[in-house]
């Protein structure tokens, strides 16, 4: 009797959890396909697998902030063959892993566009299953990788996937499995037809932001990010891969929070490491809230403007091609730009 109780309480639930996780497959890693709608996408895993099976000559690397860029449109407009390799909450540590993996596995990739967000974190994702790096990239066991998805109670992931399949919730989010980007068609439509209404309904842009004080943490993250960029640059040069860095065109509400001194220092150091296109200042893109879903993510509407700048490598009103030679001028410009545009100053 006692042993049956132990088995019922301790052992059978484990097998049930395994079966449920496999069938529902909340992050799509098992490709079990029992459900019509995908759940939360495990971008880091899916995209690596996808890229190994499909030929792209260039990739666009960044966090979810670059995820809205529909590379299919860009490819048509600029005659390119780019894949959007955004990874949610991605940071430069992860991009470094990916860049170092590419030459040995995707030797046909000749150029990588990397968006540099204002650094918020550095390092591999912790315990979150949606953000685990592909085991091949970090040279870990695939069995251990899959075991995490089989033996973890994925309550939120399961709930999200079931709601997407059995209710009308969360259906607006669309992930483009072919090109790697995401979209919110309804929000895109609202932003185009009734931007003011969208802003007032969502309230995303109402908060007044003030500059954040300097901190050791930010300094440490910036340093680590810059070190990664430096390593990426050197590595790519050795492997004959063209790397095009650009800073993220954060929304002005976001820029308001950035500490000017830290930012200037970051830009100076960055320019000494690599040439880059700077979008991170108050300009026609960042000052127009209609270009943003919220203060963190821009829409696909500005992707053409971004690629216009990246491919031309000339200064535009919304982007400055910055190098170690012109960084002093850029910094003078940025100081004035920040001073003039800070909404609360």
């Amino acid at each position: 009797m006692k042993i049956k109780i132990f088995i019922v309480i301790g052992i059978i639930p484990l097998y049930l959890i395994v079966i449920i996780n496999y069938i529902i497959d909340p992050y799509g890693v098992f490709e079990s396909n029992f459900f019509k709608q995908p759940g939360a996408i495990q971008e880091r895993f899916y995209k690596i697998n996808y890229l190994t099976k499909n030929l792209f000559s260039e990739i666009l690397l960044g966090s979810s902030r670059v995820g809205s860029i529909n590379t299919e449109n860009i490819n048509i407009k600029f005659n390119k063959n780019i894949y959007n390799f955004y990874i949610s909450s991605g940071n430069m540590a992860e991009f470094e892993y990916i860049v170092k993996w590419i030459p040995y596995n995707l030797s046909h990739i000749k150029a990588i566009y990397i968006q540099i967000d204002w650094p918020e974190n550095y390092g591999l994702a912790g315990d979150q299953l949606q953000y685990q790096m592909h085991p091949d990239i970090i040279k870990k066991s695939k069995i251990d990788f899959f075991k995490n998805y089989l033996f973890t109670l994925q309550y939120e992931g399961i709930k999200y996937k079931l709601r997407r399949n059995f209710t009308n919730e969360y259906l607006e989010y669309k992930f483009d499995f072919k090109n790697g980007n995401f979209s919110y068609p309804e929000r895109d439509n609202l932003l185009k037809t009734d931007c003011d209404g969208y802003q007032s309904r969502t309230g995303y842009f109402k908060n007044k932001n003030t500059e954040i004080a300097k901190s050791l943490r930010q300094d440490s993250i910036n340093t680590q990010t810059l070190e990664s960029i430096s390593r990426i640059k050197k590595y790519a040069k050795n492997k004959n891969i063209d790397i095009i860095f650009f800073t993220a065109p954060h929304n002005m509400n976001y820029i308001d929070k950035i500490n000017t001194e830290e930012y200037i220092s970051f830009i100076r150091k960055l320019a000494n490491i690599t040439d880059f296109h700077n979008f991170l200042f108050y300009n026609k893109l960042t000052k127009n809230n209609c270009n943003y879903y919220e203060t963190s993510h821009y829409t696909d509407d500005i992707s053409t403007e971004i690629f216009n700048a990246l491919l031309v490598r000339n200064n535009l009103s919304h982007s400055h091609f910055t190098t170690s030679k012109n960084v002093d001028d850029e910094i003078i410009f940025l100081k004035n730009n920040f001073k003039k545009n800070r909404t609360l100053q």
């Binding site: 006692k2 109780i5 132990f6 019922v8 309480i9 301790g10 089989l150 033996f151 973890t152």
Partner: protein, 481 residues
């Protein structure tokens, strides 16, 4: 394969039990062969090439055993022992020895997993055969004795006369529900010790030990936190592993010896060594300490036994220092006994809890050398634990030191709240609750689990929670030795 892995718990053991059930009507050799096969599969999950080394070692020692049994030739015994020691020396100590004489260009040699354990087990077997002329052991029983998966990697060190008769006993093939239940409960306790305690304490111990990179002083409380966390981690890790080994073996009706008997409840260091890694201590006592002269030649016997016991754990001066520190503690312990006898000091002059506290502090201090990768790091931490601590001679200095400690913990992303919770729970388990065998009633000959329904429900939930807490591969500390 690890005991604390889902594939072991949910695939390996169920598959073994199903197979044993299916072959229950077959010959005893089939039963033994099944256990050997699964043991080899278990071992080969780490490195298939190491399997060859284990098998060659078993084959060689079995041939030597046959010779000794037939001829009782002392020289054959010596050759057998030397061969084992040379193999162990080659894999484990040659690079260390070369580095001591300044040769560092030697390629790294892959250390076969559990080599210290299976070498030691077989040397003891040969000595006993020479002394006692044991009856004829079949090769398959001998092979299973060495490679039996519950003890192969990290012990407990088993004696052939305890294990082989159990393999030969036909009754042990039968499924015994009581034994399965006891085995599951012991396994659950071990698993919980490992994944809920040892792995969480390791976050603190690793972070702090990694924080020390040179002789630079950091903070006294920080060093003590790291040392205490490691002390508790090691206990939960190794005793958890042993519990799992004993538990899984019990499911198969095979009893393994206990290896830990609440070592941190010891009132002195001599008692500690009777409670910590009991099987190794017994082997060292019987096959090293006593042949060296034992109590008649105590200082030399202790020094050599503890120094070699230290080196047995690894080829590093840190292990040697660790062994020597323990030898020093044991001398002091004997000196104190002599003083008490001489001055007729009553035994109870020092309350038990003071003795337990001093012993724990000494053992924890010595663990710093055991854990550190090099002597520099060990000296940095240990000097913070003693000298920096002693230099705090004012309230202001104490407050300042405490602020530094809080900042260091915060910068290392180490939560003080979680640390306190883990330390309190660990302390309750270590010093208040009965240990596993006391709980399972192992003190009496016949194991029995007297727990009621609620306890079974508790262990069922604990098992479930522990398996779900296994996040990724985490090896046991004693696999390194």
């Amino acid at each position: 394969m690890l005991f604390n892995s889902q594939e072991f718990i949910l695939l390996f053991i169920p598959a073994l039990l199903v197979l044993l059930f299916l072959i229950r009507g077959r010959s005893h050799n089939t039963y033994i062969a099944t256990l050997i096969l699964f043991s080899l599969i278990f071992y080969s999950f780490w490195n298939v090439s190491d399997l060859l080394i284990v098998l060659m070692s078993v084959l060689f020692n079995y041939v030597v055993y046959k010779y000794i049994r037939n001829t009782n030739n002392k020289y054959v015994l010596i050759i057998g022992i030397l061969f084992n020691l040379v193999a162990l020396y080659y894999y484990k100590y040659i690079i260390f020895t070369l580095s001591l004489i300044g040769i560092n260009s030697y390629d790294k040699i892959n250390l076969p997993l559990g080599i210290s354990f299976f070498t030691f087990t077989q040397i003891v077997f040969l000595i006993d055969v020479y002394k006692n002329k044991y009856t004829n052991f079949k090769f398959n029983n001998y092979l299973l004795f060495v490679v039996y998966f519950p003890h192969l990697i990290a012990g407990p060190l088993v004696h052939h006369k305890d294990l082989i008769p159990q393999f030969e006993n036909y009754k042990n093939r039968e499924f015994n529900q009581n034994n399965i239940l006891i085995g599951l409960v012991i396994f659950t306790i071990g698993l919980a010790k490992k994944v809920l305690f040892a792995d969480n304490l390791a976050l603190y111990a690793n972070s702090i030990f990694n924080g020390y990179s040179s002789l630079q002083s950091i903070n006294a409380a920080y060093a003590w936190t790291g040392a205490v966390a490691y002390s508790m981690q090691l206990y939960f890790d190794f005793s958890g592993y042993t519990d799992m080994a004993i538990g899984v073996s019990k499911i198969l009706n095979i009893n393994l010896p206990i290896n830990f008997n609440s070592p941190y409840k010891s009132k002195n260091i001599i008692e500690f060594w009777r409670r910590w890694h009991i099987t190794l201590s017994n082997f060292l006592r019987d096959y090293l300490y006593i042949p060296l002269g034992g109590n008649k030649n105590r200082i030399i016997s202790i020094s050599i036994t503890m120094a070699l016991g230290g080196l047995w754990h690894g080829a590093n001066l840190t292990f040697l220092v660790w062994g020597c520190l323990h030898a020093g503690f044991i001398y002091l312990n004997y000196l104190w006994i002599k003083i008490k006898e001489y001055f007729k000091i009553p035994v109870e002059i020092i309350p038990n809890y003071i003795g337990v506290f001093i012993t724990f502090i000494c053992v924890t201090f010595a663990w710093v050398f055991f854990r550190s990768e090099n002597l520099q790091k060990a000296l940095a931490i240990s000097s913070d634990m003693i000298f920096r601590w002693l230099s705090i001679d004012s309230l202001n200095l104490f407050i300042n030191e405490f602020h530094i400690y809080l900042r260091l913990m915060s910068e290392s992303n180490l939560s003080m709240k979680i640390l306190l919770i883990i330390l309190i729970l660990s302390s309750v388990i270590i010093w208040v609750l009965p240990n596993t065998q006391q709980y399972i009633n192992q003190d009496k000959k016949n194991l029995c689990f007297k727990g009621g329904i609620y306890e079974i429900i508790f262990f069922g939930i604990l098992f479930l929670a522990s398996v779900l807490s296994i996040s990724s591969k985490k090896e046991f500390i004693y696999f390194n030795f």
